[in-house]
Amino acid sequence: MFMDDSLERFATTFVERLRRACASSDFKPSIRHSIALARLLEAIRLRKGKLNREDYIRAALAIVPPEAKDIALDVIQEIFGTGRNFPLRWKGFPFFPPFPFQLPFPLGLKYNKESLSERGRRILSKAIAGNPQAIEDFRKLAEENPVEAAKVFNRIEKVGVEDLDTYAGIISSSIRTLEDFYNVFSLTRILPSNLEEILNHAYENYPLDRSYKIADKIDSIANSNMRELVVKYYWDRGRKEGRLPSLREVASSPVPIKEWRQMLDKAIKEELEKAFRMSDPIKALVELAKELKRYSEYYQDEWCAKPLRNASKRIAKMAYEISKKEGREKSKKIEQELSEEGLEPSLHSKISNKLRGRIRKKEDIEKLARSNYEDVYKELGRKKVNIEEILKKAAEYNNKEAIAALAHRNLSNTLEAAKKLGLLDKVLNSLSAGPGENLLKEWFRSRRKLDSSLKRIVKQYVKEILLDLGRGYAVSRFGGLEGGPLPSFMLKPYEPGDDPSLVDLEESIENILSQGKLPKHLRYEDLLMREEERGKIALILLNDISGSMAGEKLFYMSICSLMLLYAFRKEDIGVAFFESDTYKVKEIDENINIEDIADELLDLDAFGGTCVSRALIWAEEQFVKSRAKTKVLVLLSDCAFYDYEEALMLISRLRRMNVLIFVITPKWSYEENIVKALKGLETRVIQIESIEELPDILTMIANNI
């Protein structure tokens, strides 16, 4: 295509096309690149005597920095390829509707459509140049890394080489895990040839909810029934081997098939037995009932929701009956607690709820529509109302406080009514009236019920509130945004290799004079340098986002996280979320905006089991990475850890590293025994009951470091 005497023509053609292809990237190829390519080709020609196709490809790739090599490959394909398209290989599993949950962020499914490894690039270059060795290299790559091979396949497909079916077959037989299945399929639409092996790998290596999440992702792109296959496989193998998944794993993996129902029944039974073994079985039963109810509310599929709801009611009643034996006061308290969650355990509470006051009279509606925020908010907590009527009236009086109180009490219904009445803008503009905490609480209760466009708008308001609250509480203790532990400067003796320009002459001369030394007696260390003491504190924040943290606990956790992030933002901070998986949000040496973390927090869904060990190991690595002298771990959790033995072992290891550990739990619901054990390991457990107590956490941490 390009003769030896037209090196410049190839160089300019390549760079010109590359420039167009890189229009939206940071890399801007210039005339320097054309010159470099022509000179490099000339040097190769002088060494070899002549140039072949592979030389052109290799030289063109060489003058491009790593981040643009893939774009360069596209340009090379454009210059040398035929551009034939390859048909989809997907045959399709039976259709099954995808699970509606949004995961907080990617699961570590790690394909990146844009980049090829160096090895992949070499294989692609060979394939483009028609080198027969390409297939053998491709086979080896697929065996070792099917996802990387899939990326190469995608590019080979565009060039239109022969033996495309051979390449596809190699990939198909190399898929052995669920992640590879998802990643390879999303790149190539190629199916695995051995499903049994994939399921076996999943069962051997992952808890059910993790496999389910990946299967769900596969189903959402492939219209397949992988979730069903996964659940069946876990049930069949688990029964045979006596190793069935826990309740939280099962509840987080709903599929409307009988095997799931059987697995759920078994898990509930086990959880009940566990509750009766606890020191306070009534409390354990109440928590279990609440948790099952929460799970049932997540499901759109009634077939899955119903057994959870029924079990929840059954367990609530059980808790109530047992509480009666402990006296009227206790049973009344339990009845009230359950009723607040919509789990009326007795006939009496059901009737009293039905008879609860309703605001129906015209004059009452008028009065409410003209009241202030506090009165409306309070009244709505006590009585049932027709939101539409009050909203209409409040809008007539332009009473923003009443509108805000309605939205803060019942966000989804108020927005729905506003949409119907054409008052959406008015409601949205009123959201900031009244205390932001109430809106934030309501957000965590009902955000799933909002449609996506409304959710996006409301989230902006809520985000502002969350950031303000975090900032406000931080400022209340550290007295200003520039507060927090301050960086300090210290003097250190000069060491060979230090930059002499940083020597503090005044301090050095004083030091030399005070020792009475003559110049000829001076030593390196007599000279003093100023050095900033960096990263005085390394603070790791671990947020529990498991199922038991749903609702109000998430609300407290979000504000507390933001407060700590603001208060310690000048220090080395690492943040991670955990349930049965661990999601790192910010490594200790990473730069990330606090607003981005607020975004993540507001999108969280508390779900799944609680395994804290992985998060603790991650924290340990972060402490090792940081050179800070003071190391602080803040664990925001109700401490319902599955892996508590391992967790306690890791926590004592962190204590041996002199890490100060603060565990922040909600006062009304936490795992007593584990908290006791944590206290025994010299961790400081802080129990909070109300939002006003949050700044005390800062005081306690600041006093201890």
């Binding site: 470099a36 491009v64 920095p65 998060a615």
Partner: protein, 300 residues
């Protein structure tokens, strides 16, 4: 200092100089391509950078290049604490206080030495240096000269050749090359983990005295290659780890007289726990164990 100690130090320096003369390398596959690109870059007057994960032989290749072209070899590994004086050199303050900024007080750094001696200079992990330090390289790369305060401008010898080396995973984020420096690097040579055949040849070369059986080497390689595709690992095992395992196995076999799987497993575990880095919250120990077990089970 005692005379005896001084003599020992001199003897150790001499030994180190002699050892530096020997550079063993398997020049085939990607290494041959990279070597040729280095040569072509120098012939074309272009500045190259070698980009590859730790332990694939970037520095070794540069050392070999220097040796083949009969030039002194200088290198430095940069990080955020590196200062310009580590590259250029510094005045000895004690001598300066005594005699002023005379040439005697100047102790040249490796970049200065490479420039005046016409050597090959490798800036390892160039992107990890602060922009302040990265700027030091601009003049030597563009003008082949450098101005040293109190000394004057020095001009590089014709044979001076600069090579940058970097770790690809650190090219993004906080470890970025300044635009000015990036613009002065013309050729980007990518090195990755070599193919099986080449890696085994490298291991054999480092374990010449042991004469390890082929099946043992294959087992060791199988373990290592699994770490390079493990989804839970952020940093897999390098060629150094392959060599370390092979040597440990050979030493153990010398004592016991046999090469069995438990010896390989033990050696591999002891090396891998220190050389792998897992994803957040994952225990390296558990991954190392499962990789070793799977690899040995499958080869049985």
């Amino acid at each position: 200092m005692e005379k005896n100690i001084k003599l020992r130090i001199l003897s150790a320096v001499k030994k180190a100089e002699e050892e530096e003369e020997e550079v063993d390398i398997v020049l085939k596959g990607q290494y041959l391509e990279a070597y040729e690109l280095l040569k072509d870059s120098e012939d074309a007057g272009l500045t190259p950078a070698i980009v590859g994960p730790p332990g694939v032989g970037k520095t070794l290749l540069c050392r070999y290049y220097a040796k083949q072209t009969r030039r002194p070899f200088y290198w430095i590994t940069l990080d955020e604490n590196t200062k310009p004086s580590h590259l250029i050199g510094a005045f000895n303050p004690a001598i300066v206080l005594d005699r002023g900024f005379s040439l005697d007080a100047f102790e040249p750094g490796p970049l200065t030495l490479a420039m005046i001696e016409g050597g090959v200079f490798v800036a390892n992990e160039l992107n990890r240096a602060s922009e302040y330090v990265q700027n030091v390289f601009l003049e030597p790369l563009e003008e082949r000269s450098y101005y040293i305060a109190h000394v004057g401008r020095i001009k590089a010898a014709d044979e001076f050749f600069f090579i940058a080396s970097m770790n690809p995973s650190e090219l993004a984020g906080v470890h970025r090359l300044s635009e000015a420096l990036r613009d002065r690097i013309h050729v980007w040579i990518a090195l990755t983990y070599p193919d099986k055949e080449t890696e085994l040849e490298i291991v054999k070369m480092h374990c010449r005295k042991y004469n390890l059986p082929k099946d043992v080497l294959e087992k060791v390689y199988d373990i290592i290659s699994r770490t390079r595709n493990h989804p839970e690992l952020e940093k897999p095992a390098s060629i150094r780890s392959t060599i370390a395992i092979a040597k440990l196995v050979a030493e153990r076999a010398k004592k016991t007289g046999e090469y069995n799987d438990s010896v390989i497993a033990e050696a591999a575990y002891n090396v891998l726990v220190g050389s792998l880095k897992a994803r957040p919250g994952i225990k390296v120990e558990a991954i190392a164990r499962s990789i070793i077990m799977e690899a040995l089970k499958q080869r049985r």
